[in-house]
Amino acid sequence: MLIGIDVGGTHTDGILFSLSEGQIELIQKFKTPTTPDILAGLLHTLEELLQHRQDRVVSRIAISSTLAANALIQGTAPPVALLLFPGPGAIPDYAFFGQENLTLKGYVDHRGRVTQEMDEAQLLSVVKETTELGFQHFAVVSKFSCRNPVLEKRAGALIKKINPEARVTEGHRLSGSLNFPRRAATACLNSAVMDIQVNLASQVEKALECHGLDLPVYLLKADGGTFPLTESLKRPIHSIQSGQSASIMGALSFAGYENGIVIDIGGTTTDLGFLSEGVPLFLPHGIKWQEYQTLVPGFLTTSLACGGDSQVHLNDGQLQIGPERLGPPAAFGGTEPTPTDALVVLGKLAAGAGGIDSAYRALQPIASRVFAGDVDACAAAVLNKFTEKVAAAVQETRNLLAGQPVFTIHELLEEFRWDNRHLWAMGGPAKALLSYLAEQLKLEASLLPHHEVANALGAALARPTAELTVRVDTDRGKLHLIEQGVERPVSQGCKLTGEDARNLALEAGMEYLKPGHRDDLTITEQEGFNVVRGFTTRGQIHQLKVQIKPASLLWEVTSR
C-alpha cells in the first residue's frame, strides 16, 4: 500500500491505495483545507490515512510539501550569510542573495584551475564576524565550482570547524550546472530552509512512531522525482515547487507516449505542464521560484493565477478572473462569485453549502452590468474567459519552445515540432470544465483517474531520481563528479570517444546514484571538445549529465 500527500495552495490532499499488477485500488482519499502552518494539515492528513490502513503493510509514503516555500514567503526562515568567491567579471552584487553577503579572495576559472588562492586568514575572520553577529546559516559559493569545488569545500569545512552547529550549503552539492548567481540564490535558499526540513522530518517520524511504523518517506521534487526524507535534509531546496510536478507525474502515469498538455485546476491557481512523446518538458537551466532564478531542476510549467475559487470581477467593464481568492465559492459558503459558481449556475457542478441560489446571487451584479441581467450568459462568459486564458498560456509556451536558443547547426536546421494531441485534466472543477477546454484548445480531452486527488497520486507514484554531472578534462588530467564533490586523476592527454565518455558516466552513475537497474540511467546531456594549443591536440573535455529519470511506479509493473 502506498500513501501520497499533496499540499496545495487551498487544500491538502491525501490518498491511500494499493498497487498490484498495474492496477490502482483506492482505499481512502482525504481532503482538508491547507493550514497556515502547513504542518498541521499535513500531519492530520497522514493520520487519517494511516488509520484506514487496517492491518495492511504500507510500503511507502511520498509527500509533496510546501513547508519550505511557505516559510520563505512568510519570512519566517532564518537569515543566511553568503560567502562568495566571485573573482573578476560582472559585479558580485548580482549574486548577493544572503542577508549578509561577503566577497572573498580566491578564483576558479572555467577550466577549473585555481587562478587565485583563497586567503584563509580573511575567511577565518569573516566566519568569526558573522558568527558573532548571530548567523547560524551559511552558504558558500564560488564561480565555476561546477568545474572544481575546492574553494567551496575548504571554506565549508572551515565554517564547520569553527561552528559545528552551523548549517552550511556548498553550492556545487546542489547542481553541476553553470550560473553563479543562480548557484548563490539556490544555496542561500537551501540553507534558509534546512531547519524547517529537519522539523518536518522529525514530526513525520514521530507520527509514524505513534503507529509503530518505520518505513521510507519520500519527498517529491520539482523535476518529478522523489528523494528520501533523510537525504532531503541536505538539499531541501530540491523539494521546492513540487506541487506542479505532482500533477504532471499524476498525468504521466496514464499518458502513454502522446504529446499533450496537463492541466491541474486548483482553487487558487491553474497549473499547466507539457508532455512530448510521453516525456515532460524540462527547464534546462533550473526553475524560477518567486523572484529567484535557481538551479533546481524542474519541469517546464506555467501557473495561471486563476483557479476554481478565484474571484470573478469587472475591471474597467472587462470580465476578469483572479488573481485573488477571497474565500470559497458562493455556492460553497463564500461571498464572491467564482468560476465554480459559473459551473454551478450552468448545472455542470453540484452546489455545496451555499446552494445554487448563492451562486446566482453572486454573479448577479456582473450579469446586470455587462450581460443585461442574463446570469446564464454571464456564467458562460466566465468559463470562456477561463479557457481563453489557458489557451493563451499554451500558445506562449509554444512560442517559448520555438524560440529556444540552440547552439549547433544541426539543431537550428531541424524544424521545431510539437503537435499537441491531448489534454489531461485534474482538480476539483476539472470534470465540469473538460468539454469547454477541449473545445477551446481543439484537443481530445480526458479526465485523469482519481482526478480529485491526482496530485497526491502523482506524488505517491513518483520514483526516486538523482543526477550526476561528470566532467573529464584530459588536458588537465582530471575527472570530476561534481555534485558528489569527487575528483579523480585521469591519464593526461588521453583520448576518449563519445562512447567511452558515455560508459564512464554510466559507471559513475551506477556507483553514486545507485539505480535499481542500469537501464534506469540515461545520459541527458553530452558534449565533447578538443583542447588544442598551437597545432597539437593536447587533450579533450567531455561533460555529461547522467540521470535516473523521473518515472512512474505504475510503469514498472506494466512495462516489464
Binding site: 573578476p88 567579471g89 542573495f97 532564478q293 549547433t408 537550428l412 578538443n530 588544442v532
Partner: protein, 461 residues
C-alpha cells in the same frame, strides 16, 4: 536583497549567440568547433543571460538573395557558400532586424565564422572568411529600411578589414573606419591612411594602422581624438562595430596588447547599435572575458570588476604613443579636407564611351590573394565618377590559374540615378554579347532588386 549598480541607464541588448559547436573550417583550423566554447561557459556562469537587460535569439539563415545583394560569387552562391556561412550572416541580419523592429536598443551577433576579409567578388576563402557577414547585414538593412541610410562601420579587429573596405570603397553613405595592427607587420598587409576611398566616396574610408604592442591607452587615444569627433561630423544613422577580439594581449596570431576592460570601455564610449564578432583566436584567455565585457557594456551594466584572471596592467611605450599621435593627426587632417580636396588632382579620371557618350570613370587595379585556397586574383575595377550620384562599379577579374573563370561584374548601388542605371545595364549587356569575352558576367542591380548571372563558355564543371 539584490542591488542593481548601473553606470548609466540600462539598455535592452539582443544577443545572438551561435557558437556552431558542430562546425569547423577543418579539423585543426583555429576557426573550429570549440572557438566559442569557453565564451559560452563564461557567459552562462556569469548569469548574464538571466539579466532582464539581455535577451537571447537564434540566428536567421541568410537567403541566396541576401548574399547576391553584396557578393559576386564565382561561379555562383551555392558553389561557394555553405550553411555555416549563411547562418553567420543570418546572425548579423537577425541583429539588424531586432534593431529595426525596436525590440532592442542594441544587438550583438556573437557568431562564427568571420567575414571582414571577404571582398565583393568571391572566388574562395581568405583570412578564414568566405562571405562578408557584416556587409550582408548592412545591405539587408538598407534594402528593408531605407536605401539612403548613413552607416558607420568601426572595425576594431587587429587585422585590416580589407574585404569590408573593398565593398564600400566607393559608397559615400558608408563611413568605414578600420583600426588595426600595421599592415607592414600583419596579414593582410594593407590598410594605410592613403587608402581613403575612391573619388565618389573620398575620406569615407579611414585607416588607422597601429604599431605592434599598442595598448588600451593607444586605442582609446584613437577613439577620443579621431573616431568620436569624426562620428560627430558624419552623424550616422547606425553605428556598427566589427568587434574582432584579436587585439588582446594573449592572441596567438597578433602582437597587440589590448585587454578585456579596454574593449569594454571602448564599447561604452562608442555606443554601437550593432556589434558583430570578427576574428580573435585566444579562445581561453581572451574571448570569454572580452565578450562578457561587451555584453556588460552594451547592456549598460557595471564593468568595474571586469578583467582577465591573469591581468597585469601594461604600460605603453612612449614612442608608440608618439607614432599613434602622428597617425591620428594625419588621418584627422584627411577627414577635415574631405569637402575641400581637389579630387581631380588626387584621382586621375579615366574616360570611356558608354551608350554613345563619353563618361568619366576612375580605375584601379587590385591583386587579391586568397590565402586559404591559394588563389591569386587580378581585378580591374572601374567606378563611374558621376557628380550627381554614387555612380556604378564594374569589375573585370581573372585569376593566375588559366583555367579559372574570367569574370565581368557590374554593381549598381540602390542610390544610383537613372542615367547610371541605364549605363550600367548597357555595360552588362555589352559584356554578355562580347564574342571572345568573359566566361561569366554578373549583374547586381540594387535599384531594381535584380541579380543576374550569364554563363558564356563554361570551362569548369
Amino acid at each position: 536583497m539584490n542591488l542593481n549598480k548601473e553606470l548609466n541607464r540600462t539598455k535592452r541588448l539582443g544577443l545572438i549567440f551561435f557558437p556552431a559547436f558542430d562546425w569547423a573550417i577543418s579539423p585543426d583550423h583555429p576557426e573550429r568547433e570549440e572557438r566559442l566554447l569557453y565564451t559560452r561557459d563564461q557567459l552562462f556562469e556569469e548569469g548574464l543571460l538571466d539579466r532582464p537587460e539581455v535577451s537571447e535569439f537564434n540566428p536567421l539563415i541568410a537567403s541566396r538573395e541576401d548574399v547576391e545583394r553584396v557578393h559576386f560569387c564565382i561561379p555562383d552562391v551555392s558553389n561557394r557558400v555553405s550553411e555555416p556561412h549563411l547562418i553567420s550572416a543570418g546572425g548579423a541580419i537577425r541583429a539588424a532586424r531586432l534593431l529595426l523592429e525596436d525590440k532592442v536598443d542594441s544587438a550583438f551577433a556573437l557568431v562564427r565564422p568571420p567575414g571582414h576579409h571577404a571582398f565583393r567578388l568571391v572566388r574562395g576563402a581568405r583570412g578564414f572568411c568566405t562571405i562578408n557577414n557584416e556587409a550582408i547585414m548592412l545591405e539587408w538593412l538598407r534594402h528593408h529600411y531605407r536605401k539612403g541610410l548613413k552607416i558607420a562601420i568601426i572595425d576594431t579587429d587587429a587585422h585590416h578589414a580589407d574585404g569590408t573596405q573593398d565593398i564600400f570603397y566607393h559608397d559615400p553613405n558608408v563611413l568605414h573606419i578600420s583600426l588595426h595592427q600595421d599592415g607592414r607587420t600583419l596579414f593582410p598587409g594593407s590598410g594605410f591612411p592613403s587608402q581613403c576611398g575612391g573619388p565618389t566616396a573620398f575620406a569615407r574610408t579611414l585607416n588607422i594602422p597601429l604599431p605592434p604592442y599598442t595598448t588600451d591607452e593607444g586605442i582609446e587615444y584613437v577613439l577620443e581624438n579621431l573616431i568620436l569627433p569624426v562620428l560627430d561630423d558624419f552623424k550616422p544613422d547606425i553605428i556598427i562595430n566589427d568587434a574582432g577580439q584579436d587585439n588582446h594581449y594573449s592572441d596567438p596570431l597578433t602582437q597587440m596588447m589590448a585587454s578585456a576592460h579596454g574593449y569594454a570601455r571602448l564599447t561604452e564610449k562608442l555606443q554601437p547599435d550593432l556589434v558583430i564578432l570578427q576574428g580573435g583566436y585566444s579562445i581561453e584567455a581572451a574571448l570569454p572575458y572580452i565578450n562578457i565585457g561587451l555584453v556588460l557594456a552594451l547592456a549598460g551594466l557595471d564593468t568595474a570588476n571586469l578583467r582577465e584572471p591573469d591581468y597585469v596592467p601594461i604600460r605603453q611605450d612612449s614612442r608608440l604613443k608618439d607614432r599613434i599621435k602622428e597617425t591620428v593627426q594625419q588621418v584627422r587632417e584627411l577627414w577635415e579636407s574631405r569637402d575641400s580636396a581637389d579630387l581631380a588632382d588626387l584621382f586621375r579620371p579615366y574616360h570611356q564611351v558608354v551608350r554613345g557618350k563619353k563618361k568619366q570613370f576612375y580605375k584601379r587595379k587590385k591583386q587579391i590573394y586568397y590565402d586559404t585556397d591559394g588563389i591569386l586574383e587580378e581585378q580591374i575595377e572601374k567606378v563611374r565618377w558621376h557628380e550627381k550620384c554614387p555612380g556604378y562599379l564594374t569589375i573585370a577579374s581573372r585569376s593566375r590559374d588559366q583555367n579559372d573563370y574570367h569574370v565581368f561584374a557590374v554593381h549598381i548601388p540602390a542610390t544610383a540615378c537613372q542615367e547610371c542605371l541605364d549605363d550600367a545595364r548597357a555595360e552588362y549587356e555589352g559584356a554578355v554579347e562580347l564574342e571572345e569575352g568573359y566566361d561569366l558576367v554578373q549583374l547586381q542591380n540594387l535599384p531594381e532588386n535584380q541579380f543576374l548571372s550569364h554563363p558564356q563558355k563554361r570551362i569548369k564543371v
